[in-house]
Amino acid sequence: MNTTKPYAEHFGTVLTRGLVVVVFNVVIGLGLALRNDNMVAQMVYAQAIGLSIWITIECARHAFKRDPRSNWPVGWRRYLLLVGGILVGYTMGTLIGDAFSGFSTWDLMLRQPRQTLGYLFLAFTMSAVITFFFHARGRGASLEQLAATAQRDASQAQLQLLSSQLEPHMLFNTLANLRVLIALDPPRAQEMLDHLVAFMRSTLTASRGMLHPLSAEFARLNDYLALMKIRMGERLVTEISLPEALSELAVPTLLLQPLVENAIKHGLEPKIDGGRLVVRAACEGADLVLTVRDTGVGISTVANDGTHFGVSQVHERLATLYGDAASFTLAPADGDEGGVLATVRIPLNQTA
């Protein structure tokens, strides 16, 4: 993601990191000056070493293949970069400091090896801590960004789901039917309106809860099918079966909704004689099996007729919630009646 940032923005983040390094260096320099009189020289050493390490790592980072999400090299290369960067940067910084102050750290080490090595060890550890701090902060920021992107994608999908369900053709046709019923058969009109309200409410609030009981899912399907039955008349025959024992199992909200919609929109509506739609919940071994079967025109040979959004929604939601444990298949249905069979399998132990 950083790689696609505009140059100015990228430059800005680098500059910010540089400033943080300088501030760190000032603190270290002041700390060293407490023990040592030569404050200016200490400050120069601190800045030279700190900045050298930072610049070395910042530049060397580009030589590696980086994980686009964290912008750091992957695996052992990351640690090689950090340790190598500290070694190289520390040496360079020390040489710069020596050049400025006229000291020779090398000579000092030969004369007083223990004391110098102690210094070196302290400074080295300090550099390592700071470098790792940056490293962790960078990863944290990128993870945050990742989470934000995921959140945005989810909202996007939610919106798409909503607009696919409140598709104008469906809405206007339903309202047209409702208008006729108001004059013709007011009690039935009221019933239809109730179904429409329940259907729309569930669609609009589906984003809030991730799971609901299977009985709620079937109730929403019932609302939708009641609307479709008024519209399609005898062309639509439905069969819904939910065993009492399964009605409290938790399932993702509106999981079956897009499958039922597809079965009607792409299977039964285009078929001249219409047909049957069967929705079932059953237990098979350790799985909850939900099936949506229609006797419609079958899986279209035309590549893009709009079924993909609903189908990929189901795939994605199952994968997010259950990983590989759940599955979803869409296949031509067996038997003489033709049509399509959609099957969702969720492990029972995850539906409590």
Binding site: P168, H169, L171, F172, N173, L175, A176, N177, R179, V180, L181, L184, I230, R231, M232, G233, E234, R235, E269, P270, K271, I272, G274, T301, V302, A303, N304
Partner: protein, 267 residues
């Protein structure tokens, strides 16, 4: 005034409502049939020859536009083409198209006022027709309107162009170069692919195939026929005005429907 009409609407409540509303506003109008899909609409309209057609746009089988298209091709000469009223719940492109070309359109749910307007327009048009006996160019006018409508129907999403057609015969798949195809002809659920010396059947409808062909090279000349333009040798018009194509490399003759006759004009 007395007149006959056919209603094609797949939603039973809406069909019943339209019927009831028409009965109230135009009691003399006889509804000769009420059907629920485009195929039945074409069949019944050809059999009963009503003067007015109320066609829903979205129906199972042929859509309202496709049904009108089919009727314009198959309508017998010498009998007045019905006045077309399209009915739609929500189709912005269609409304726009209707405003330019169709006799009338009605938005669902049809309000009494709007339908009254439609009825009086229809009555005027039918009265004019009765005064001036059937003119030969009446169907042509309807055809021109339909051509306008079809041109504005949203194009199918651009599909990649085919260069080779895979036609299965038993366990063998023949790879037929699209460049060698003389014409495609719809045959039930299949399409006949005709080349100079072979013929294949592929399991695809013409509607699915059409977007994958280069429209510059392959011309639709009939609801069920698409010809490679440079395979055509001559286009001959007979006394009754029917256009027939003969091909360079094949003895078959292809009929051009009225809807596509405008493609062949001498320079």
């Amino acid at each position: 005034m007395n007149a006959t009409a056919l209603i094609a609407e797949d939603e039973p409540l809406l069909a019943a409502h339209l019927k009831a509303e028409l009965a109230r506003q135009w009691p003399e109008l006889e509804i000769v049939a009420s059907v629920g899909n485009g195929d039945a609409a074409v069949q019944q309209a050809l059999a009963l020859r009503p003067q007015v057609l109320f066609l829903d746009i979205r129906m199972p089988g042929l859509s309202g536009l496709e049904a009108a298209h089919a009727l314009a091709e198959d309508w017998p000469d010498g009998s007045p083409f019905p006045l077309l009223v399209f009915v739609t719940a929500h189709d912005e492109y269609a409304i726009e198209a209707f405003e330019r070309a169709a006799f009338d359109y009605v938005l669902k749910p049809a309000t009494a006022e709007r339908l009254a307007q439609t009825c009086s327009r229809l009555q005027d048009a039918l009265r004019q027709r009765a005064q001036a006996p059937v003119q030969g160019n009446e169907l042509d006018a309807a055809v021109a309107q339909l051509r306008g409508l079809l041109a504005q129907a949203p194009a199918a999403p651009a599909a990649p162009r085919l260069s080779v057609i895979q036609a299965g015969v038993g366990s063998t798949i023949h790879m037929v170069k699209v460049d060698e195809v003389l014409y495609f002809e719809a045959a039930d659920k299949y399409v006949r692919v005709v080349t100079a010396d072979h013929e294949h059947l592929i399991r695809l409808s013409l509607r699915e195939l059409l977007p994958q062909l280069d429209p510059q090279r392959f011309w639709q000349i009939h609801r069920g026929t698409v010809v490679r333009a440079d395979a055509v040798a001559t286009a001959v018009r007979d006394e009754s005005g029917k256009l027939t194509l003969s091909l360079r490399e094949h003895a078959d003759k292809l009929a051009v429907s009225r809807l596509y006759a405008h493609l062949f004009k001498a320079l």
